[in-house]
């Protein structure tokens, strides 16, 4: 099997990793970098549990090959809080009660952060649209949508 040596930025730190050609970004984060906050719900690009920011854009990390990430900038759920200070959307999802089992939460938070980065005051329809690829089986979504709204309002 071919190995690739890649250098990339993950949550602000530079990492050098040797990855097999068929390893996904999701596997690399979880198995090589011990960043297990990003979850595997399907490994098929269909549930959003593995969402991370790649060069600022939300991607399903199960559908990206690690070898393609040379030079990329990746942000995972572990990179949202800065110096123990939660990202506003982490705080509002707590306040609104948008977390139950928590398995979809990392992917949800990343998708929400990506939305707020490109559109600081989204409408409810835009929030629903931005999160449509993130499946949650517990909460019924309403409180997650409110959390994104509240985060947008708090940063106005």
């Amino acid at each position: 099997m071919s190995f690739h040596r890649i250098i990339l930025t993950v949550n602000g730190s530079t990492e050098q990793v040797d990855v097999p050609g068929n390893m996904t970004l999701l596997q690399m984060l979880r198995e090589k970098l011990a960043l297990t906050g990003t979850k595997n719900g399907c490994a098929a690009g269909e549930c959003g549990a593995c969402t991370v920011l790649m060069n600022g854009e939300p991607v399903n990390s199960c559908m990206v090959l690690a070898a393609e990430c040379d030079g990329a900038e990746i942000v995972t759920v572990e990179g949202l809080a800065q110096d123990g200070q939660l990202d506003i959307v982490q705080q509002t999802i707590i306040d609104e009660g948008g977390v139950q089992c928590g398995f979809c939460t990392p992917g949800m938070l990343i998708s929400a952060r990506a939305l707020l980065n490109r559109n600081p005051s989204p409408t409810e329809a835009e929030i629903r649209e931005a999160l449509v690829g993130n499946l949650c089986r517990c909460t019924g979504y309403a409180r997650i949508i409110s959390a994104v709204k509240a985060a947008a309002e708090a940063t106005q």
Binding site: R30, A34, L35, T36, G37, T38, K39, N40, G41, C42, A43, A44, E46, C47, A49, T76, V77, E78, L80, A81, L86, Q90, I93, I94, G97, V99, Q100, C101, G102, F103, C104, T105, P106, L109, I127, R128, E129, L131, V132, G133, N134, L135, C136, R137, C138, T139, G140, Y141, A142, R143, I144, I145
Partner: protein, 783 residues
């Protein structure tokens, strides 16, 4: 304890923040697949049956064994003991016969998942295909091939009634009054057959388990599990070894909904690890496997007949249920029982006849799913009541209020109903949707309608399912609560922290409840199922905290020479009402208190213990289903929706959904509302979108693309949750469970609303746009 002991509280009935939430938003929370095992970890894959029903003629594993990187290959030959939660009808790996597509036939462990998969592909299995059973009504008939010729010899508890030499693995009957004599008295009768398809739980976290066996044969299993203690017991049974040699560790779980209760795939890595001593062996289901190789919600065919007098009073209910149990029904037999003893729905009726039959088929194996049969039962019975109310010309809300079960009624099994707030629930949800007022649709091509449904559900469990808890105090006056019940997202750890804080007299913030649940250190809990934790484990935690409290007070009383009655614990201080002295719990709860003049010490490290087990549940007669008290209690509720149907597409848009449940007492109202909202959406998803499409036993749609669940795009504009509180006599502060109930009435509620909007009844879920449109076409509503 009784509700009379309620005093002013700062922790009960208060929406405290979740104790597990910060780690869940930062990514620090550890789920099973997140645990790192390092080098030496092996990966398991399973060879599965491609046939729904076949004899295994020959298995050749030699090529798989020869593949470099493969460590172990096992088959059914290696594990000859049967297991199962209620009916012991299964093996870990099939022996001589397979009974559903996806049944494990052999297992492999290798140094990578890819090699393990390649090895399973190299295993050769020769089958002789047999005719299958793909419908439960056919399966129950004498013409059907016999799927378990040994049914009569399987080990089974005395409340499950298999019928040997048939495919009926449990036949539960209720005979109350005389339905046959009642029909002639009825002014209106409705007869209808309802079909509910198989659906899947779809937790976002797929099943995963890791097993390791040491040189002495001691087994450790890490599993995403709602049932570490039940799994320890079931693995012990299937391996014929004592429980003490098995340790199950269950970290946080990413959704279960019943699929991670009992035992399914967890035994597989254990079996393999026994042949690879020292190596941890990880087995995780792919999303595709998650859909059909593990527990599913059983399909149901219910033939229902109901009748009432001219005033709308129910006179007779007859419900004949054929449950599509699948190839094995170790858990399904008890779903059938629960469906049977609640088979009238929450209605007071003098004549009830129920036949609830668990039927072996060559379909995926049925297991617990949020509601434990009740969504399926209510789909039929509540729609039938709606049809009956229309036939007799009565408003449905009025009809329900006339007929719902009330305190003092003798329910179908003869048990006397306890206090229940079901009428108040009906009032709350009908008000929320402006019931009785016809409102205009938003566009000319739409029809608007309202739907209403009621429900009841009792915890379904062995009569003596128990709970236990330990409450341990630390030097800094923090409190650790040890429990065996799981946090599956419902908020159990938070509710237990509130109960412990209140019982002990310490601040909520000082109480720690954390996983993983570990059968080696955590006190026993039967299973995290049946909406039973707040009530059962809540009682155990309260008892443990009261025990710790007593020990602390006795210690201080002795040290101070006071009477225990004059002392209390408040905010982490022991106070004396008599002398107005006070002392912090800090240090004294571990080091004790010095006696005056250094004449010695009193006390010692404080640990409180408590348990709870219902002792009053009685059996039910095999022929009549009658008995003193079949269940511990019923939680009741109601749901209403206001929706629009698009005549051009058949698509429905829910404008408002309102739910109300009688939870006895909401320990944490916000968490209760979260359960109600999330449960509604899960119910809505199952009602509109979900169906396992089975063709000759093969699931046609095992992916998120083809098996759609609700997303942010699908949820109602407004979801409202109401709490009703008619206290439970033996619940902590009067609490009873509500985790499963919110999705139970939803299918019937939506079907009733679609009928109200269009005049067309689409009775069998999924109530998809396509199905609704075709029904409208059929009825001539659209052309």
């Amino acid at each position: 304890m009784t509700t009379a002991s309620i005093k002013e509280t700062t922790n009960i009935g208060v929406s405290k923040p979740r104790v597990d939430v910060r780690e869940k938003v930062t990514g620090a929370a550890i789920f099973t697949d997140d645990i790192q095992f390092g080098a030496g970890l092996l990966y398991a894959r399973v060879k599965r049956s491609p046939y729904p029903h076949a004899i295994i003629k020959r298995i050749d594993t030699s090529k798989a064994k020869a593949l470099p990187g493969v460590k172990v290959v096992v088959t059914g030959e290696d594990f000859p003991h049967r297991t199962g939660l209620y009916l012991k009808d299964r093996y870990i790996f099939a022996r001589d016969r397979v009974r559903f597509v996806g049944e494990p036939v052999a297992g492999v462990a290798a140094i990578s998942e890819e090699i393990a998969q390649k090895a399973t592909d190299l295993i050769e299995v020769e089958y002789e295909v047999l005719p299958g059973v793909h419908d439960p009504v056919y399966g129950a008939s004498p013409e059907a091939p016999l799927l378990h010729p040994d049914l009569g010899n399987y080990e089974v508890p005395n409340f499950i009634f298999p019928v040997p030499n048939t495919n009926i693995s449990n036949h539960f009957k209720v005979r109350k009054g005389d339905v046959d004599a009642a029909w002639s008295q009825c002014a209106a009768i409705v007869e209808h057959t309802f079909r509910v398809p198989h659906v899947q739980h779809v937790p976002i976290e797929p099943h995963v388990a890791i097993a390791q066996v040491d040189g002495e044969g001691n087994i450790t299993l890490w599993a995403s599990s709602q049932s570490p203690f039940a799994q320890r017991n079931l693995i012990a049974k299937s391996l014929n070894m004592p429980e003490s040699k098995i340790r199950v560790i269950a970290p946080l779980i990413g959704g279960g909904f019943g699929s991670k209760a009992g035992i399914t795939m967890e035994a597989i890595p254990v079996a393999i690890a026994m042949k690879a001593k020292g190596h941890p062996v990880k087995f995780r289901l792919t999303r595709e496997e998650e859909f059909f190789t593990n527990f599913v919600r059983q399909g149901l065919v219910a033939k229902i007949k109901v009748g009432c007098d001219k005033d709308g009073r129910l006179l007779a209910i007859q419900n004949e249920m054929y449950w599509d149990g699948g190839g094995y029904t170790d858990y399904g037999v008890n779903i059938t029982r629960a469906g049977g003893y609640s088979g009238s729905g929450p209605f007071d009726c003098p004549n009830v006849k129920v036949d609830s039959m668990c039927v072996y088929t060559n379909h995926p194996v049925g297991g617990a799913y949020r509601g434990f049969g009740m969504s399926e039962v209510h789909t039929g019975i509540v729609q039938a009541m709606h049809m009956l109310s229309e036939k007799i010309g009565m408003d449905f809300a009025e009809f329900l209020k006339l007929n719902v079960v009330q305190e003092g009624d003798k329910i179908l099994t003869g048990m006397t109903m306890h206090k229940t707030g079901i009428k108040e629930c009906i009032d709350k949800v009908t008000q929320a949707v402006n019931w009785g007022i016809k409102e205009p649709p938003s566009a000319p091509n739409k029809r608007r309608g309202k739907g209403l449904a009621v429900m009841w559900k009792a915890p379904a469990m062995p009569p003596n399912a128990g709970s236990s808890a330990l409450v341990k105090l630390n030097e800094d006056a923090s409190v650790t609560v040890l429990i065996g019940g799981q946090e599956i997202g419902q908020g159990s750890f938070t509710a237990m922290a509130q109960i412990a804080a209140e019982s002990l007299g310490v601040p909520f913030e000082s109480v720690k409840v954390k996983g993983p649940i570990d059968t080696q250190y955590s006190p026993y809990e039967w299973q995290t199922v049946a909406s039973r934790l707040t009530w059962s484990m809540g009682n155990a935690v309260r008892n443990a905290a009261l025990d710790a409290r007593k020990k602390i007070i006795d210690m201080v009383a002795e040290a101070w020479g006071e009477k225990p009655e004059d002392l209390d614990i408040k905010d982490g201080y022991v106070i004396s009402y008599k002398t107005e002295e006070s002392i912090s719990l800090k240090d004294i709860v571990v080091y004790g208190i010095p006696k005056p003049d250094y004449s010695g010490w009193v006390g010692g490290p404080i640990v409180g213990s408590g348990n709870f087990m219902p002792t009053y549940v009685t059996g039910l007669d095999k022929e009549t289903g009658q008995g003193e008290r079949a269940v511990v209690h019923y939680t009741t509720g109601a749901q209403a929706v206001d929706l629009e149907v698009d005549l051009d597409t058949g698509q429905i848009t829910i404008l408002k959904a309102a739910s109300a449940f009688d939870v006895g007492k909401a320990i944490n109202p916000d968490l209760v509302k979260s359960q109600i909202e999330g449960g509604f959406v899960q119910g809505m998803s199952s009602a509109i979108f979900e169906e396992m499409k089975l063709v000759n036993g093969v699931m046609q749609n095992p992916s998120f693309v083809d098996y759609r669940i609700a997303t942010t795009a699908d949820i109602p504009k407004v979801i409202e949750a109401y709490i009703v509180e008619a206290p439970q006599d033996d619940g902590p502060w009067g609490a009873r469970g509500v985790g499963e109930h919110p999705m139970v009435p939803t299918i019937a509620c939506l079907a009733n609303a679609i009928y109200d909007a269009t005049g067309v009844r689409v009775s069998n879920p999924p109530l998809s746009a396509e199905k609704i449109y075709l029904a409208l076409l059929d009825a001539g509503v659209v052309k």
